[in-house]
């Protein structure tokens, strides 16, 4: 028996703080880029960029993903969330761990605070994973989405463990392979194994639902699942054994898997019944177009062609910014408009259905502000990327300023949704 979306939903007090805190972290990151544009025009292993990246990946991306998953897992697994207390504990440890970690990186202070932050983050992830696994154990439902979610969690745990190892290695060097290579592995296992795989698991369910697309070829998802995971495993082993050829081969395997997922999304897009895209889906579309560009960039990076080798720093930073800001952050911003209004709407109006005319979830935020946010984002991202490519700090700062404006507008809408009060018109 399948249930309605709201039937197993957890308390909004578990879900909503993740969106609010996440949006605030995103605002801080964009402000830091405006204030310190030079961190994007030098080698990626610099303290400020490390701090900003972790604020973005943990503070915004992982934070919102955790919150959204607490709402979506009961829909996908058709079971109530195992524990709301664990979820709140995970929220506290993730927030404090991210702040302490970013502070330590920013000041290059590799001391007890760094270890403590790594411990908090590991604890947060373990609490989250236990919650999801326990919910999954109760669920008899077997589907590809569930497989992606559970596997992505294993990669998240692995990502944090590598992070802890690297933290230890900074103070007591013991790793025999280059710290930079382990950093690349840490980043990719996190971005591909955890974030992207989760996006595939959740997106393959939600995006066809939002576009009302049916009869999709789910084999494409299975192909994506196996290729991405085989690629990641081969890549991880090859990094530790320092076999460059297999590292590159694993990248190609992962890219083919990702293309299979993109083909599924394209199929959903072209078969959609709902032709007109709302603002959330427009930003989602832009996110996916940016993702295709980032795949192209990674091919240039591994091609080792001398012209691209000579601009390797710009190419690497461009690739990471395309992936983290252009694709993942943009996707999260777009999908916030598809999920958060509904969560608040359910909280405010669930017991008031039929008691008068009530607003729709889409009416909980300003569509004009959301449109301005999207335009600012596109403009800001475009200028930022030019700045990174030509290594011009003024240009990076200008682009980041537009991004900051965009994220301010995003925050305005987030808080407008969260603070929405019941408005019922006469029957």
């Amino acid at each position: 028996m399948q249930h309605l979306a709201g039937q197993n939903a957890p308390s909004p007090f578990v879900v909503v703080p993740h969106f609010a805190i996440g949006a605030a972290f995103w605002l801080v990151v964009s402000l830091l880029i405006v204030l310190f544009p030079d961190s994007l025009s030098q080698h990626f292993f610099n303290p400020k960029l490390l701090a900003m990246t972790h604020l973005l990946v943990l503070g915004f991306i992982t934070m919102v993903i955790f919150g959204a998953l607490y709402q979506l897992i009961p829909v996908i697994m058709e079971e109530k969330l195992h524990s709301e207390k664990l979820a709140i504990s995970s929220l506290f440890t993730l927030t404090s761990g991210t702040i302490f970690l970013a502070y330590s990186f920013w000041n290059s202070s590799f001391n007890n605070l760094l270890f403590f932050s790594a411990f908090l983050l590991l604890l947060s992830v373990i609490l989250f994973a236990v919650n999801v696994f326990k919910t999954g154990l109760k669920s008899v439902k077997k589907n590809t989405e569930k497989k992606f979610i559970v596997t992505s969690l294993l990669w998240l745990l692995f990502t944090v463990l590598i992070g802890v190892l690297m933290t230890l290695n900074l103070v007591f060097p013991f790793l025999k392979i280059s710290h930079l290579e382990v950093l690349k592995l840490h980043a990719h296992v996190g971005i591909i194994g955890w974030i992207l795989q989760l996006i595939i698991g959740v997106g393959s369910k939600l995006l066809p639902m939002f576009m009302v697309s049916h009869n999709l070829n789910e084999k494409k998802l299975k192909i994506a699942y196996y290729l991405i995971n085989i690629g990641l495993i081969v890549g991880t082993i090859s990094v530790f054994l320092e076999i460059g050829f297999f590292v590159n081969l694993s990248v190609i395997v992962v890219i083919i898997g990702v293309l299979s997922f993109l083909s599924f999304i394209y199929e959903a897009f072209s078969k959609r019944i709902k032709k007109k895209l709302d603002i959330g889906m427009k930003q989602t579309l832009i996110a996916f177009l940016t993702f295709v560009i980032s795949l192209f960039l990674v091919l240039l990076i591994i091609s080792k062609i001398s012209i691209f080798e000579s601009i390797s720093i710009q190419l690497n930073i461009s690739y990471i910014v395309f992936l983290l800001v252009g694709f993942i952050s943009s996707l999260i911003m777009g999908q916030t408009y598809k999920t958060l209004p509904f969560i608040i709407w359910l909280k405010v109006y669930r017991n008031k259905l039929g008691k008068g005319k009530i607003p729709l979830p889409i009416e909980l935020y300003s569509r004009n502000i959301a449109t301005a946010q999207l335009l600012m984002f596109i403009l800001g991202f475009f200028i930022l990327m030019i700045g990174i490519v030509i290594t011009e700090n003024g240009c990076i700062r200008l682009g980041a300023s537009f991004l900051l404006l965009s994220i301010l507008l995003y925050n305005y809408n987030i808080y407008k949704i969260i603070l929405h009060k019941s408005t019922i018109y006469g029957k």
């Binding site: 028996m1 399948q2 249930h3 309605l4 979306a5 709201g6 829909v75 996908i76 369910k205 066809p208 639902m209 009302v212 049916h214 009869n215 019944i273 709902k274 032709k275 509904f342 359910l346 669930r350 259905l353 039929g354 729709l360 979830p361």
Partner: protein
């Protein structure tokens, strides 16, 4: 479907899917309407499991029928078989969604 059941069926054109902005009859979401004595049973599906606006649609159906048949007991049954597909759309539904 007898004439009274057909009237209820027509009445349900007044319920609009808030995501697609098309009425639920032209979307083909109503599978059956049965009136037995003073009880009205309506079988309704959604375009996808987990459809966020499901509760609102179900409540709208219940409210609309109850207000037109105050002396009847109205039951709205959410059904998932057969699964809703594009083939469930009426001609009007296809036109409204640009599928025609």
């Amino acid at each position: 479907m007898n004439s009274e059941e057909a009237t209820v069926f027509e009445l349900l054109k007044g319920v609009i899917d808030p995501e697609l902005m098309v009425n639920i009859i032209d979307l083909g979401l109503i599978y059956d309407v049965k009136i037995i004595k003073s009880k009205i049973d309506i079988d309704l599906t959604l375009t996808s499991a987990g459809c966020p606006m499901g509760e609102m649609i179900i409540e709208d159906v219940k409210q609309l029928v109850e207000s037109n048949y105050p002396s009847f007991e109205v039951n709205v049954n959410l059904v998932w078989s057969p699964v809703w597909t594009l083939a469930c759309l009426t001609e009007n539904g296809k036109t409204a969604l640009g599928q025609g």
